[in-house]
Symmetry: C2
Subunit: 202 residues, 2 copies
Amino acid sequence: MATTKRRGRRPAGEDTRAAMLAAAREMFAELGYEGATVRAIAERAGVDAAMVNHWFGGKQGLFAQAVLQLPFDPVQLFTHIFESGPVEELGERIVRTFLTRWDESGGGAFAALIRSVAGHEQVAAALRHLFLEQMFTKLAERVSSDQLQFRASLCASQVVGMGMVRYVAKFEPLASAEREEVVAAVAPTLQRYLTGDLDPAG
Amino acid sequence: MATTKRRGRRPAGEDTRAAMLAAAREMFAELGYEGATVRAIAERAGVDAAMVNHWFGGKQGLFAQAVLQLPFDPVQLFTHIFESGPVEELGERIVRTFLTRWDESGGGAFAALIRSVAGHEQVAAALRHLFLEQMFTKLAERVSSDQLQFRASLCASQVVGMGMVRYVAKFEPLASAEREEVVAAVAPTLQRYLTGDLDPAG
């Protein structure tokens, strides 16, 4: 009977959280994003599946923190970005939000993410899944276009590139520019990718 | 006397080229980009320094091929991009040139570059040096602005991000989009970063 295990052997706290993250890393590595389940991860960590969902907001949040080591929950983040202002300022909110979160971690979280994605096809696949599902779902609620997925992947290219140059390659002056100077320069790019003309010369 | 060594012990050919690349990788790793010299690399490879310069166009080209494993000589590439058309189409030429070169290598060269940059601060520093020197020098000849370095680093962010999404994270449909569709969408971004208003809302 798995009931005993699922009822939980550990008290809640940092040890439990660390055990859940360790179990998640192991099982995502063994089974991939699709194959690993919250229930199996909880069982290996010796906690109740409900606790995993409570702490990490489900499998996506657990993956984001355990494997991608994102300093935020991507589901909450996308919800905030998309629902906190008009669609005409979406580009600005995306750039400012990502810069703020990554600046707060000193850029280390972004560099770790890139190493992980560049070194492991499974991580790249899971990030793709996570990102596209979130971004596309939210975008479809606010923007009408037959090229939403192309738009989402163009946005990703500029946001990821901004992170690469600011935190990994550290090209000056972008690496140490004031956040709002970067927002002013990059936001119009995102806004065009989201709602503008994708072939202005065509 | 170093003369004997410098006169070269190996015949020219693929073995010699491989020996030069191996010696370069070792010495760049040991001494960094600034510390390693063409003369010392040639000596370790058992060839004449003139042969290294002839084959790789000097230290930058050697570094680009040995360490960054770029499938092109960045000096020649930037010269071609900047001198083959009007400044108003610079954004388009940059996007098309990088996409073409990386597409030809199946994206593998780009992924290797990113792993190298993300994992080694010395590689990031050398790429910075190489890129900024080339880009900035060429840009200064064609574009008049007091923000040329900020413009160059913004361009880098979009080009690197395009590579990340197309070849490493493989977000669809950008990963398999027709090259010219990507050029049409991304070129206006580069052109604004190079010659346009960097704070259109300000």
